[in-house]
């Protein structure tokens, strides 16, 4: 099983160091990475940092801060794709890029500093993206003499934050990434803690049961092959079988699936995540979504979404491009209902005129017809990106479809 794990938290709380330590202690690093770091230390007269295993840009190494997200693969009981993200506020867009495919999050909180601005913002954004499973690593325990009382205080503070943001599952581990306590090896300096190490906690993650959802097939393109229309796309949820009667929205076309083509041989059935081609009688359009007659997808032209804006401003009356599945279309900001503090999740004002960079809000959008689902029901079609001048500037989830 592969699990995507994102490491988040405030700047300098030790995210890259924690991953570097994990890789180092598990001996997952190739020899020439160590040699490269040795060369760096000598050439730039630096002392060794575990973060050097992750940070690769010259600017990152010289300024000792992570600028963009990176991924490393790591094997424990499971396979892990560990996603490191930057902790600075100016790099939230890079953080979200890294976090968008994560299933599990590790929130790093520095024991001497406690909850800080990006601790809250990262936790808020992850929860908005649908991550509910969070492991809190209370780091730099070496700087507070490994005192259980400090751990308890920071744990209480973090727990209060996470609970208010809506998290239900959380675990707390006292660690020192620099010294290696409770990351890969159990600590001998914190007798008062009897819980699992970080790696034991990761290895204990159970695969999530996938509940069967209604079929949603996203149309990417139509190829004309051997005098057949092959509609290519991806099954985003549910199961598709040969012989199914499908309805496509927003085009409204209804057709029977004659063949399911996967090169070089046809298949009888396709499941969630499969990229396939289906042969049907008539042409549908890129961006259409197919489903069965019962539980069919429907196109809507108005919905309530929760959005985080990463660049520029968003005003009432502004037009954006909305992208969901393979569909791109116009959308209009009809009303900004609530402005939300992305550090705490608190509502900061209602029915306001505009929001700025790194701010979040609930918004009523009007759009040209497209298929969207409630994020809580079919997440794959309940999340969207907004773009301006071809540039992705924000991301959101669908709260209400008004159906």
């Amino acid at each position: 099983m592969n699990i995507n794990v994102v490491i988040v938290g405030h700047v300098d709380h030790g995210k890259s160091t924690l991953i570097g330590r994990l890789l180092y202690d598990s001996q997952a690093l190739p020899d020439d990475k160590l040699a490269e770091i040795q060369k760096l230390i000598e050439e730039y007269k630096r002392r060794f940092e575990f973060a050097y295993f992750l940070d690769s840009f010259e600017e990152e190494l010289k300024e000792e801060r992570t600028i963009d997200t990176t991924r490393v693969l790591f094997k424990g009981q499971n396979y892990y794709t560990i996603v490191d993200v930057p902790g600075h506020k100016e790099f939230i867009k890079n953080m979200l890029t890294g976090a968008s495919h994560a299933q599990v999050a590790i929130l790093v909180v520095s024991a001497p500093d406690g909850v800080q601005e990006q601790t809250g913002r990262h936790a808020f954004l992850l929860h908005m993206l649908g991550i509910d499973n969070i492991i809190v690593a209370i780091n730099k325990m070496d700087l507070v003499d490994y005192q259980g009382t400090v751990f308890q205080e920071v744990k209480k503070e973090t727990k209060r934050l996470l609970t208010s943001l809506g998290y239900s599952a959380m675990k707390f581990i006292p660690v020192s990434a620099i010294e290696g306590d409770n990351i890969y090896k159990p600590s001998t300096r914190m007798e008062w803690y009897r819980g699992a190490t970080l790696i034991q906690t990761l290895d204990g993650i159970e695969p999530e049961g996938v509940s069967e959802k209604p079929l949603r097939f996203v149309v990417q393109d139509v190829y004309r092959l051997d005098s057949e229309n092959v509609v290519v796309g991806r099954v985003e949820s549910g199961t598709l079988r040969r012989g199914y009667e499908l309805i496509f929205q927003p085009s409204g076309i209804q057709e029977r699936v004659e063949r399911i083509r996967v090169y070089p041989e046809d298949v009888e059935e396709a499941k969630m995540g499969d990229s396939i081609g289906i042969v049907i009688g008539s042409e549908v359009r890129r961006g259409d979504v197919g489903g069965r007659l019962e539980n069919s997808p429907s196109a809507l032209d108005r919905f309530l979404g929760e959005v985080v804006l990463l660049e520029g401003t968003l005003k009432r009356g502004d037009e954006f491009e909305i992208k969901c599945g393979a569909k791109r279309t116009k959308c209009l900001v009809k009303e900004i209902k609530e402005r939300i503090n992305s550090e705490t999740g608190e509502v900061m004002g209602e029915n306001i005129g505009e929001i700025g960079e790194n701010e979040a809000a609930t918004i009523i959008f009007e759009t040209d017809p497209l298929v969207l689902e409630k994020f809580s029901e079919i997440p794959e079609l309940g999340r969207f990106v907004i773009a301006r001048k071809n540039k992705n500037v924000g991301a959101g989830v669908v709260l209400e479809t008004g159906r």
Binding site: K33, E59, T97, Q220, V230, L310, N390
Partner: protein, 266 residues
Amino acid sequence: MLDLNDLENRTIYIVREVYAEFKSPAVLWSTGKDSTTMLWLCRKAFFGRIPFPVIHIDTGYKFKQMYKFRDDIAKAWRLDLVIAKNEEALKEGVSPKNGKFECCTRLKTEALKKCLDEYGFDALILAIRRDEHGIRAKERYFSPRDENFRWDYKDQPLEMWDQFQRLAGTGTHMRVHPILHWRELDVWEYVRREGMPINPMYFAKNEKRYRSLGCEPCTLPIESNAVNIHEIVEELKTTKIAERSGRAQDKERIFTMQKLRALGYM
């Protein structure tokens, strides 16, 4: 092992996005294992025949076996092969002796630039992977380049849930990396599962094999007894040697790879 079906499905999705969203895409092929896998996946995405050109950047310094493999496969898969060669630089006598940075830039990056000018491609599919190099681990699936080929790595696009960046303005092209999330081991497991043809230089002869293929003067074999794909898979499960350890251009100076890539190197 990552699930090969998941890897394949996501890659095919990305390739089809490129074909739907760009006017004139092309795929780069070095004849090595990764880009040959990339071609294989493109063939799957389009049910047997790749509907856009395949570019081979010919530095003139490739191994003889690479040229043979290229010509055999191009014929068997009916590829629309475009060969990009910087004849001018070769006439000037550019070679690794001028320094690897200069040689890679002139014979690869510049050759590609000329090819783009000539054909007007707006998207290039490349088979780089995150686990090859720390700098490649920083890449996006869709990575815009300006008219000078520059990679603005300090301001990369927001890329969530397979909603990729589009091109803004003219004179630019998009680099697309559909196997970014694959690991070296996954590529070999996939080659084995699919029974794909592969350049025999990857298999050990006299206790040495090539783990990564490049230009003859700058590519060294590693010590290995792996004479077939099964043995390569087993070797990779335990090795501590980095995949590109035999590739000289990465090692010349500490940030060479970043500097090469910022200028448009693959």
